[in-house]
Structures are given as C-alpha cells and as structure tokens.
C-alpha cells in the first residue's frame, strides 16, 4: 500500500503533539511538588501516550482500538486511586505536598 503524503504528515503532527505533551507532562511532574499538579501532569502524559499508541498501532486498526479502549479504562481506574490517595494524604497531613510522603516513608 502506498502511503499517502498526508498520512505521513498527519502521523508526524501526531508525534510532535505527543512528544511536546510528554515533555510538558514530565516537566510538570518533576518540577511541581503538589500532588494534584503531579496528577494533572500524569494525565497530560497519558494523553501523549494515547496518541502515540493510536499512531503506532495504526497498521492494525482493530488492535489500536482495543488497546486504546483498554488504556483509557485503566487510566480512569487509576485516576480514582490516585485521587483517593491524595485525599488520604491530605487528610493525614493537611497538604498536597508530595514531599510529605517521602518523609513519612509512604
């Protein structure tokens, strides 16, 4: 199958977006010490990953769909747990600081 030029450009755009978002997400995750901000950064990262997955799996659309669906389900599951952890940490220490977890050895 001949790859159309547009497809390639679309894929590259996707990669650009994914990489940029990944970088931003990692930056946010590493530089903020607020748990909530870290959660948000991870979510940005997840969006990047999702695009990459879809693009990379595009040779097999069915698999891409299934994988993406599974990914999204799992991530939303993860979100609950993380938020629950944040709430627990907050209740425990009254801050959103991640360092509090390091200190308490959590």
């Amino acid at each position: 199958m001949v790859m159309a030029m547009e497809d390639v450009i679309l894929g590259q755009l996707g990669f650009i977006a994914a990489i940029a978002m990944a970088v931003i997400g990692v930056y946010g995750f590493a530089s903020s010490r607020s748990l909530v901000r870290q959660l948000l950064s991870i979510e940005v990262l997840f969006n990047a990953v999702l695009i990459m997955v879809v693009i990379l799996m595009s040779f097999s659309p069915l698999n891409a769909t299934l994988l993406a669906i599974a990914l999204i389900s799992i991530v939303s599951g993860e979100v609950i747990v993380v938020v629950a952890v944040i709430a627990a940490v907050y209740r425990f220490s009254r801050t959103f600081e991640s360092s509090i977890m390091e200190e308490e050895g959590v």
């Binding site: 907050y90 220490s93 009254r94 801050t95 600081e97 509090i100 200190e103």
Partner: protein, 414 residues
C-alpha cells in the same frame, strides 16, 4: 485559610529556601451567609459554617426587623400599643394582640362580655388558619414546592376574606380592645364561614395528596429537624414545634382565655418531632380551628346582638353610637380611650398564636402609658432551634427546618 508551616525541626531548615512555604489548609469551615437577601431565609441571617454538605455550626443572626416595639410600647398610650404589637405578626394579628388585651384587662379587673369573647376567639381562629396556611406556603416554597405555596396562599385568601368581612381590614385588624372587640359579626358572615370551613376541609385532603404524602416531599421532611421531647422542653420551644415533639402544651388548654373554655376542640399532639410531624400538627390544628369557628359562629348567631364591649366603655355612650352600632356593627370608642389611665399593677398573660405561645408582661404605674411591656413571641423562643437543632443536618435541610418551625422574623425581633 492561613499560611503556616508544618511543624518539626526538619521543616524549619527547609524554610530558608525560598519558595518552599507550605500553605497549610486548616480544618477551615466554609462560612455561608443565608440571608438577609436570600431566598432561603426571610428577614434574617443565619450564618452557617459548613463542612462540605454538613452544617457544623449555625448562628442565627436576628434583628433585621427589630422595630423596637418594647421601647415604643413604653412611650405610647395603652390603646395605641394594640396596632403596634399587631405588627409583630400581621398575618396572625388577633392572636398576638389578645394576650396584651388580656393583661390589660387583668390589671383593669374587668371582663369583656361573652359576645366579645366569642368574637375574639372567632377571629383568633380565622387568623390561626390563615397563619398556618401562610406557614405552609412558605414551607412549601422553601422545599421547592411552589404549588404548595400558591395553594396555601389561595386558600388563605378565603380566610382573609372572612376576616375582612368581620373587621374591615385584610390583615391588621386591630380588633381586640380592652374590654371587648371593635365590631360585631355582619349578617352574612355565618353562612360564609360555614362554607369556608367545608371548603377548607376538602382542601386539606388535597394538600395531603400533593404535599404531605407526596413521596418527594415526604422524603425531604421525614426525620429532618428531629427534636426529641426532652430537648424540646429544655429549649422551651413553643406551639406546633413543641406539640410535634409530644409536649402537651397549648395556652388555650393550659390557661384558657376568651371562649376557649366553652368550645369543644382538641389539641393534636404528635410524638415524631420531625418536620413532617410539624406539618401534620398544622393540618390537624386547622381542622380543630374550623370546628371552633363553626361553634363560635353558631353561638354568635343564636345570641342576640349587643355591643361586644364592657359596660364601662359603653353604658354612657350617646345615642349616635348605638345607631352606628346597629347600622354598621361598628363599636365606637370613647375619646377617653386614647388617654385611658390604668391602675397600677403588674400582669402576665399568655395566649396561643398560630406559631405558639406568646407572653406579655405589662407593668402599669397608674399612668396612661405602660411602665414596661415585655413581649416574648413564639418565634423568638423558637429561634434557639437554629442553634441547637440545625447543626448536623445537611445544607439542604436548613430551609426545611426553617420552614417547618415556621419562623417569622418580624415576630421574633419585635
């Protein structure tokens, strides 16, 4: 919220690095003002502190309608105080003024003629129904049921119409005066009253269907604002609130005045003590009031018409006055009423308004103005419910409780 640093020596050193302050969020409660410009409160402000959806602390801030009645009562002649005190609860005008008049009569040591007593009781009961319906309407709108509001107010108009026929004013009747009442019953009144009573009974059934037994409304009211009997006695709540909590107290029964020892009626008492019970108390009381109205009307019809005022104020009246009375049923006042001097003495009187017991303490030093008038109105006594019952409920329960205790700020603030 305050900015502070979590304790511990390790963190102290951290403090030196700029940008590492930690804003500690304390268990700060959300302070919400309910009122005065708020659909969930009438003319008052309730400062609630909420933890999420649960009220932790409620502080009723009254006084938005404090119109200094006690002070003005001290500088005005006795009879001028009747319209004044009436403004406490204008939809319950007769009920709030009768005890004041009773206190004056106690000091004067006179007793109104039987007809005046029946007339007063009649108007009191009409007022009671109107006030209960008013309370119902406000309660309905507080829990979002606008139809209840409209229906109650529609039926209240029937009662207002009756009162207007009897006294010539919609709400502020200024009807009782020391020694009697100001007007006699018009000719066509009994028939209208009986019709209204029959109509009202049927409507109560419809209220039950759309409001009290409506599952949505029942869910909102059941178990909300529960006041156990002990607590009710301790807080000294009055009226339907007390009677919904199983307290057998009604000033008409425990200290009968006017015609209440001659008519046959019941004091409904419920044990449940929640908002639903308070609503039901009102329904049952409306039924009893209708009975009283019918009895009073029967009595008044079967007795000859005479001026419903003590002879002291009527015996020496000029013929013109008698003519006016015969023609219009209007009792003229003696000009000396304005500056009537009352012998020295202190009297304490209580009466049952729609919202509960109202007490007056009148002290006279023999002057034409009272030395001291103390009023404790039912809403003023019920206000304490906000402080002791509301905490622990959800925010959405606040209007339910407010509506169910039928709190009326102008009355509470005096």
């Amino acid at each position: 919220m305050s900015v502070s640093v979590i304790g511990g020596p390790k963190r102290e050193s951290d403090l030196k690095i700029p940008g590492t302050e930690v804003r500690k969020i304390e268990k700060d409660l959300y302070e919400v003002f309910i009122g005065p410009q708020h659909p969930g409160s009438g003319h008052m402000r309730i400062i609630i502190r909420v933890d999420g959806d649960v009220i932790v602390e409620a502080d009723p801030d009254m006084g938005y309608v404090h119109r200094t009645m006690e002070k003005l009562g001290e500088i005005r002649q006795y009879i001028k105080n009747i319209p004044l005190f009436e403004r406490m609860a204008i939809q319950d005008a007769c009920n709030v003024t009768v005890p004041y008049v009773l206190a004056l009569e106690k000091i004067l040591d006179i007793e109104p003629p039987q007809r005046a007593k029946y007339l007063r009781s009649l108007l009191c009961e009409i007022n009671r129904i109107a006030a209960h319906l008013y309370g119902f309407g406000i309660f309905g709108v507080f829990i979002g049921h606008s139809t209840m509001y409209m229906w109650a107010f529609a039926d209240r108009e029937v009662m207002v119409e009756l009162a207007e026929k009897l006294t010539g004013a919609r709400l502020t009747h200024s009807y009782p005066i020391p020694g009697g009442a100001r007007r006699d019953m018009p000719q066509d009144f009994p028939q209208a009253a009986r019709k209204a009573a029959r109509y009202m009974r049927r409507r109560l059934e419809e209220y039950r269907k759309i409001f009290l037994d409506n599952p949505v409304m029942k869910a909102r009211m059941e178990g909300v604002g529960y006041i156990p009997k002990k607590l009710a006695a301790e807080l000294g709540v009055v009226g339907p609130v007390a009677r919904a909590s199983g307290i057998k107290y009604d000033a008409r029964y425990n200290d009968p005045y006017d015609a209440y020892d001659e008519v046959d009626f019941e004091i409904p008492v419920f044990e449940e003590g929640d908002a639903l019970a308070r609503a039901w108390v009102k329904v049952e009381e409306i039924k009893q009031s209708l009975r009283i109205i019918e009895q009073a009307v029967d009595w008044l019809e079967s007795h000859t018409s005479e001026a419903p005022i003590h002879d002291k104020f009527w015996a020496k009246s000029p013929p013109l006055w008698k003519k006016v009375f015969e023609k219009e049923g209007r009792v003229k006042l003696l000009p000396m009423m304005a500056t009537m001097k009352i012998p020295p003495g202190k009297a304490f009187a209580r009466g049952e308004t729609a919202r509960g017991e109202i007490v007056y303490y009148v002290e006279s030093t023999g002057d034409s103005i009272p030395y001291r008038v103390r009023i404790v109105s039912p809403s003023a006594r019920n206000a304490i419910v906000f402080k002791y019952v509301v905490p622990g409920h959800r925010v959405m329960d606040l209007p339910t409780i407010y509506g169910s205790i039928d709190y009326f700020p102008p009355e509470a603030d005096r």
